[in-house]
């Protein structure tokens, strides 16, 4: 597994955990305080630091080569495209909700939507990194 794939797993884990906590807070306390769950993302660099320390031979020098960069760029485009479509659909949904309720669009809903769009972008990007890397390396070991 390359450093890029490891980083993708770590990042995806943190965002999945944060999204799950967000959903739990949303159910328990409502949309206002729920985005606080995304503060968990702040711990993400600690995991990256710990992973680097274990690899003493290459401490703080992740080997990212041209294939990693290509995979990463393609995955980022895919992640942003997916997140953009989801965000626009979310905005339309919120607007419809507000129109039906005869109220204005809730600011807390917009905030939650922004965080969810970022979470989706990160999840799709990291999943894409892992799948692309695996597909290229399949059937080639030996």
């Amino acid at each position: 597994m390359t450093p890029l794939q490891k980083m993708a797993w770590i990042e995806a884990s943190f965002w999945i955990a944060a999204t799950l906590v967000f959903l739990a807070l949303l159910v328990r306390f409502g949309p206002g305080p729920a985005p606080a769950a995304f503060a968990l993302i702040g711990l993400h660099p600690i995991a990256w630091y710990a992973m680097q320390r274990r690899s003493a031979a290459r401490a703080f020098q992740p080997v990212l080569d041209e294939r990693d960069q290509e995979i990463s760029a393609r995955a980022s485009r895919f992640g942003f495209a997916t997140s953009y479509v989801a965000f626009v659909l979310g905005i339309v949904g919120l607007q419809q909700y507000a129109l039906r309720a005869g109220d204005c669009v809730p600011a807390s809903g917009l905030m939650a939507l922004v965080w969810l769009a970022v979470a989706l972008q990160t999840l799709v990007r990291n999943a894409s990194v892992i799948l692309q890397a695996r597909a290229q390396e399949a059937e080639g070991r030996g």
């Binding site: 390359t2 080569d65 041209e66 294939r67 990693d68 597909a135 290229q136 399949a138 080639g140």
Partner: protein
């Protein structure tokens, strides 16, 4: 219907011809990860021109001896 072009490479054979060089060793000599060498040998990744030249230089061969473009 036209066939998709295929990039074939002789890296695996050349590695064994050069003292059974490992994928890790080749990767280190050309500045890429072992996984990239794996992907190249599997024909699932087309390298940049610079990487192709670096690999050819390790084997003291021309780029055409290492990579063949079939279409």
């Amino acid at each position: 219907m036209a066939r998709a072009p295929v990039l074939r490479c002789q890296i695996r054979r050349l590695r064994f011809d050069h003292g059974e060089m490992t994928q890790q060793e080749l990767g280190e000599r050309v500045g890429v990860t072992r996984q990239t060498i794996i992907a190249l040998e599997a024909g699932r990744y087309a390298p940049s021109l610079l990487l192709a030249f670096r690999i050819a230089r390790v084997f003291d061969a021309s780029v055409e001896e290492v990579f063949q473009y079939e279409f």
